[in-house]
């Protein structure tokens, strides 16, 4: 991955099917491949969450056919506790890594970053191709753990050591399952590092004539910032996973403590530290949250601007805020460890930046709201999801106030409050960002429009459904409902079971809405209305100035030259209400904002 001399730009259009659609070095094909992978992963992750929710709401319910997935895990189709935890781990891992990282960042980023910067392709297209296939391999390795004798690991997506390091004696899947998990994540990291390398270099070096950094659309900025985060975060997670694998296969003691006793037997190991894993993991883990959400901020801004027919109040402030989020995300990782036995002084040191991180988030939200004011809002599926994103981002964000404070975290740590918080802010919000991007860019990616009616049905069901699922999580958490429990047997938890039943029904309902989306996506891809023109939303950035779908070298026989800021909507004195970046029309106030 470190050999930098792979220049293949520009490359000719491929002719064979395999080079065109499978091992393609075209960033647009790779973007679509990432999208397909994310879609597949999201469906798997969603089905897993259904099974878990059914079990949580209706404990002894037999789910027909479940034993086919795992004979030991679900004898008689009723889930065992370990199987619940295994599905939970897989749900978390698949969703965080293979959906929230790949879809908004790798999928859309691959497709649109080169186009929006005015490049013909990424600078290292072979690395780009490798990045996808490496990620795909990682996915296969992870899914393979379902089919090992004892099933996938049950340690949760955070995979805390030493449970993850002591092997099979710790529980089903803690041997081979963990090794496959760690291998999959390490491979995944390689894929994302290759991707980040391309993203950063594209943004810095491949911009077309006239495209200064400040003229990049907000999406491009978001992907750029995200790839910088990814570069550092994944570079830390990979060694952590390697050390974890070594503890399993080579008998080292990076994470295996001394004198651990299970079943009356002293396990091998000396001096390994659970805190070591937590530090390494969360140094990746917290930026990862922003890796999932920052592209969403970019996409939502981009979609909103087009549909508000006006630029944001300030382009720069949004960029700086995203940058600040990225920077701060490294300084706050310790807030996941307030009760972990870390020095209580460092808890405070981590608490303040965590509180401070609400400032850039608030600025972003206020800029959105302030820009909505006096706009000429167009309502369509894309803008609905973008507005829904704002609502979700606010709801998920305010609960951060609680968790940022170590004193309150004592009560809420590891409860459903946390689950509600991160599902709203990095789960649902990020998914809404993906949906907004899909409805918005679908015509550019495929040349066809998505069905608006189905899109709106999808939005309403998802919006109301997601609130019905995740708001009650907060109440459960306040009441002390611990997360990662497969059943609620504690006296104080039993009265909360009706809430869980309600959430289960809401989850099934919301999940059904996603099937509508999948139907819409597939149907529109092949039989949808053909896009009326290259620029159906009347956008200004470069992706709308090229053909639909874009030709192999993105811009055909004419390289774009950029004359304007990315979002010239409703400019006074202009001939139309939008002026494309490539338009040569002279505008009075065309210069950069102050």
């Amino acid at each position: 991955m470190h050999d930098m001399s792979t220049h293949a730009v520009p490359h000719g259009a491929p002719t064979s099917f395999i080079r065109k659609h499978v091992f393609s070095i075209d960033h647009k094909v790779i973007g679509k491949q990432y999208y397909a992978l994310a879609l597949l992963a999201a469906l798997i992750g969603m089905v897993l969450s259904w099974i878990m929710r059914l079990h949580l709401g209706y404990g002894s319910l037999a789910i027909p056919g479940l034993h086919l997935l795992s004979k030991n895990g679900a004898p008689g189709d009723v889930m065992t506790p370990e199987y619940y935890l295994q599905l939970m781990t897989m749900h978390g891992t698949i969703m965080v890594f293979f959906v929230l990282t790949t879809a908004p960042f790798a999928a859309f980023g691959n497709f649109f970053l080169p186009i929006q910067t005015g490049a013909e392709d990424m600078p290292f297209p072979h690395f780009n191709m490798m990045s996808f296939w490496v990620t795909f391999t990682a996915f296969l390795v992870l899914v393979a753990s379902f089919f090992t004798g004892t099933g996938p690991t049950l340690g949760g997506w955070t995979q805390y050591a030493p449970l993850s390091a002591i092997g099979d004696v710790g529980g089903p899947g803690e041997g081979l399952g963990v090794v496959l998990w760690a291998a999959s994540i390490a491979i995944f990291c390689i894929g994302q590092l290759l991707g980040s390398l391309n993203f950063i270099t594209t943004t810095l070096d491949m911009r077309c004539k006239g495209m200064s950094l400040m003229r990049l659309p907000l999406t491009a900025w978001a992907w750029f910032i995200t790839s910088i985060m990814g570069l550092t975060a994944f570079a830390v997670l990979m060694p952590a996973c390697l050390l974890l694998i070594l503890d399993h296969v080579a008998g080292t003691s990076f994470f295996r403590p001394s004198n651990a006793v299970i079943n009356d037997q002293v396990l091998p190991g000396s001096g390994g530290s659970t805190l070591l894993w937590q530090h390494l993991f969360w140094f990746f883990g917290h930026p990862e949250v922003y890796i999932a959400i920052v592209p969403g901020l970019g996409i939502v801004s981009h979609v909103l601007i087009t549909n508000m027919r006006r630029p944001m109040l300030s382009h720069r402030v949004l960029i700086y805020s995203m940058g600040a989020l990225a920077l701060l995300s490294y300084m706050v990782y310790g807030h996941h460890m307030f009760v972990s036995g870390m020095n209580p002084v460092s808890s405070l040191a981590f608490s303040f930046p965590t509180l401070v991180i609400t400032i850039p988030s608030t600025i972003v939200v206020l800029i959105w709201l302030g820009s909505l004011y006096g706009s000429r809002l167009r309502i369509n599926s894309a803008s609905l999801f973008a507005l829904g994103f704002i609502s979700m981002f606010i709801s998920g964000g305010v609960s951060g106030f609680f968790l940022a404070q170590p004193s309150i975290d004592i009560m809420l740590h590891a409860t459903y409050f946390v689950v509600g918080h991160f599902h709203l802010v990095m789960g649902v919000a990020a998914m809404f960002g993906i949906f907004a991007g899909t409805y918005f860019w679908f015509p550019k990616m495929t040349g066809r429009m998505m069905n608006e009616t189905l899109g709106k049905v999808h939005f309403w069901m998802s919006f109301v459904g997601a609130y019905c699922i995740f708001m009650p999580f907060h109440y459960l958490g306040i009441a002390g409902n611990v997360r990662r429990y497969q059943a609620f047997t504690d006296d104080y938890l039993i009265p909360l079971i009706p809430v869980h039943k309600f959430i289960t029904i809401a989850a099934l309902f919301t999940g059904f809405a996603q099937l509508i989306f999948v139907y819409n996506l597939i149907h529109s891809r092949f039989w949808g209305k053909v896009a009326p023109n290259d620029n159906p939303w009347e956008g200004t950035s470069l992706e709308w100035s090229t053909a639909t779908p874009p030709p192999h070298n993105n811009f055909g026989d004419k390289m774009p030259v950029v004359y304007h800021d990315p979002y010239q909507y409703s400019v006074e004195g202009a001939s139309t209400d939008y002026v494309m970046q490539t338009s040569t029309e002279q505008l009075k106030n065309t210069d950069e904002e102050k």
Partner: protein
Amino acid sequence: MATTVHEPPKIEPRRLPIEGSGNGGWRNLVPAGGDPRRVKDSSPPPASTGIWVALASITMTFAAFTSAMIVRQGTAPLVHITLPPILYLNTLLIIASSITLELSRKQIAAFMGAGRDKDHSAIPSRWLYVTLFLGLLFVAGQTFAWIQLKAQGIGLATNISYSFFYVLTVAHALHVFGGLGGLVRVIGKVHNSALRRSTLDATSRYWHFMGGLWVYLLLLLWMKL
């Protein structure tokens, strides 16, 4: 930089020339009044930016290993171990290889700068071979150190200090292999008359970084263990 063979711009009269990168890029300044003629036409080739990005990620990886050592030291003190003496010889080798690579780069730069870049077959490549040889010697020396330890019955799981020793040295050696691959590629390009300066520069930056990284790792191992 200018040697990649493109189709002559027959059907694309308005398409600006592309040489491995866009025309805006890193040095792209804001054109006043929307006049793109005042933008510089060249931006650095992606390889020179890309290599810094790659080096940043490698730095993070080894920073993670370092912090793992520090945190692990906090739980259970690392054991003192004696490093195999051959490592010091290896250090000299990798430093020497950096010097020879720099010599080679100077030579090639002088050669190309003299306007003779049409005739690549005459590019002086002797120092490149020397660098490659020294690099291989370094890897061989590292392997010798591992074999020596193995012969003493010391393995990865012997104690935590040796675990870190092996992990760090092996991870570094794997990265050095990447650098050797780059050198082989450069030599190949010299022979095919397809060498770009940016490729050579990126490879040499990577190689120097590997040398620096090794010195750092040696100090780290020497101080902590």
